[in-house]
Amino acid sequence: MNRLDQTFSRLKTAGQQALITYLMAGDPSLQETEQLVLELERAGADVIELGVPFSYPIADGPVIQKAAERGLQSGTSLRKILESVRHLRISTQIPIVLMAYYNNIHALGEAEFCRLAVEAGVDGLIVPDMPADEAGPLRGPADALGLHLIFLLAPTSTASRRAYVAKESGGFVYYVSITGITGAKLHDVASVGENVAKIRKYTKTPVAVGFGVATPEDAARVAQVADGVIVGSAIVRRVGAHGQDGRLVEEVGAFVRSLKEAMQPV
């Protein structure tokens, strides 16, 4: 069974929501990314999302764009990230999801990517510039190997998109809480809840909410309406701030701990 499914099922039984934390792989270096993954797990993260740095990240705001630049500067590539995942699997079984732009996967080859990713211990894949409609070349190999393809829905999504994308998405459905790019500000948690409820009409797959969740308060509020809370830019901003000052692991760990605490049922 896929580690993502196990985790969501365990949390559901416990009446809890998944904390899904994003790191840009290779920011500031892959070695530090590995340390951060282990620290995030200790701090209470349930799922790790690893961003693959790409030179033209059209879905990302300035915080993650800068992180991608740092990742590229440290010489990070998709192959090296997969090596890191393989290395991490010696010490952790936390579900790991890669977030990669399509061209990085295409350059490796869709089938070859799936094979290497599953071999390394990756559980799911998010491709922000690939709607479910274009997933054809990944679908066959991903299904055969048990790699979840995770798709996004947005506030702009119509009922027919919700029906289609909810059905195509595995592991969880990624609901984008704002009409915009990563790191924008979340204002309307009530409408997030309404949209998550609309998605649930079409699927039993868990729904996680991301883009704009920046504080423990945001995480607590979103946890009340979704099965998972995704935090990206707020973590990456802290990696950026402390990447060179020796307090990186400690600072990022403390922040993630505060998110997890805020999500505990009262």
Partner: protein, 396 residues
């Protein structure tokens, strides 16, 4: 078989590689476009603006002195430089602005490289009373300072993009982010046959007036079809605009000219077909300059409008099916062609179009005097005068 297919594919190229947030807007745009294009009222309105506002049809001018000088094929210039705003870009901008009236969105955004498409979009925004914001790389803003000021005079906001190579593709990324954020109120007027479906098809259709006119004009002038068509290819909208009406005329050769920059072997160029391979950038699967890990390469060209790492997907399809040939000329060759056309014909071409002229210089002498060649003079060179002066070391 009609291309693209229903999924926006030209063979393996094209498609819709965008964030889910944009999918409803693309599906709406496709639906509105497919419905509206068939309406007589829309076509009549489009014809009206193309004639009365843009100044179409543009002449197909026989370049007598250039023909004599090169000593080969008869050279005809399709004078898109005479369009209002000075380039073919307005054909597409007018078409999209008319569609926006149907979609009732109050705001336009656009990217621009050389500034031609930005000026065209700013112009139609002014004419139709729409709010308009143009994204432009800061490197291009410096190269094309005059166009930046023109857009501002027309009432648009010009926003500099200080990321990556600070050129066209950075401007497109930023425009896509704006569109993702403001999609409910904003239409993205993409300027070339690039991006996600339906843009490459729709922009080709709006630009195909160039080839339809040229076909009629050459039949009137020469009583036969041309032997060869030549156009520069950045994204490739002026080339596709010229080529499309001739696509079924199998004997008409088509040549697309990419920016060879400092030479393809130098690595500093934008010749996607010479140095690239298929990949996905900014919404579409197409030839792309990239490294072995799929990171997009930096490009170089003296011409901001050709300085782009990818190319329109239909060109990739033409390349693969051998319907068109693609070649490149260097910065120096383009600059020499700029001078040549100015001195022989009294016409200053845009540096983009000067690449097509440079290919004519190579190609025409190898052809017979009885043969006929049409080159798309896609834009005028006024915007490039300051840059040419700088390159020549002249202080104005």
């Amino acid at each position: 078989m009609a291309i693209p297919d229903r999924r926006g594919r030209f063979g393996p190229y094209g498609g819709r590689y965008v964030p889910e947030t944009l999918m409803p807007a693309l599906l709406e745009l496709e639906e509105v476009y497919q419905r509206t294009r068939r309406e007589k009222g829309f076509q009549a309105e489009l014809r009206h603006y193309l004639k009365e506002y843009v100044g179409r049809p543009t002449p197909l001018y026989f370049a007598q002195r250039l023909t004599k000088r090169l000593g080969g094929a008869k050279i005809y210039l399709k004078r898109e430089d005479l369009c209002h705003t000075g380039a073919h870009k307005i054909n597409n901008a007018i078409g999209q602005a008319l569609l926006v009236k149907h979609m009732k969105k109050p705001r336009l955004i656009a990217e621009t490289g050389a500034g031609q498409h930005g000026v065209a979009t700013a112009t139609v925004a002014a004419m139709f009373g729409l709010e308009c914001e143009i994204y432009m790389g800061t490197e291009d803003m410096q190269r094309q300072a005059l166009n930046v000021f023109r857009m501002r005079l027309l009432g648009s906001t010009v926003t500099g993009v200080d990321a990556g190579s600070r050129t066209l593709k950075d401007a497109i990324s930023e425009a896509m982010r704006d569109w993702t954020t403001n999609v409910r109120t904003t239409h993205y007027v993409l300027g070339s046959v690039l991006g996600a479906h339906p843009y490459p098809m729709m922009i080709r259709d709006f630009q195909s007036v160039i080839g339809r006119e040229a076909r009629k004009q050459i039949l009137a002038a020469e009583g036969r079809l041309p032997d060869c068509l030549i156009a520069c290819v950045g994204g490739g909208s002026n080339a596709m605009g010229l080529f499309h009406a001739f696509a079924q005329d199998k004997k008409v050769r088509m040549v697309g000219v990419e920016a060879g920059g400092l030479g393809v072997e130098s690595g500093k160029h934008a010749a996607r077909f010479a140095g690239g391979r298929p990949g996905v950038l900014q919404g579409t699967m197409t030839y792309l300059l990239q490294d072995e890990n799929g990171q997009v390469n930096l490009t170089h060209s003296v011409s901001a409008g050709l300085d782009y790492a990818a190319v329109g997907p239909e060109h990739s399809y033409y390349k693969e099916t051998n319907r068109a040939q693609y070649t490149s000329v260097t910065d120096d060759e383009a600059l020499a062609a700029f001078d040549l056309l100015a001195r022989e014909e009294g016409i200053m071409p845009a540096l983009e179009s000067a690449h097509a002229i440079a290919e004519v210089v190579k190609c025409a002498p190898t052809m017979k005097k009885s043969q006929v060649l049409i080159v798309n003079l896609s834009g005028r060179g006024d915007k490039d005068v300051q840059q040419v002066a700088r390159i020549k070391g002249v202080t104005l």
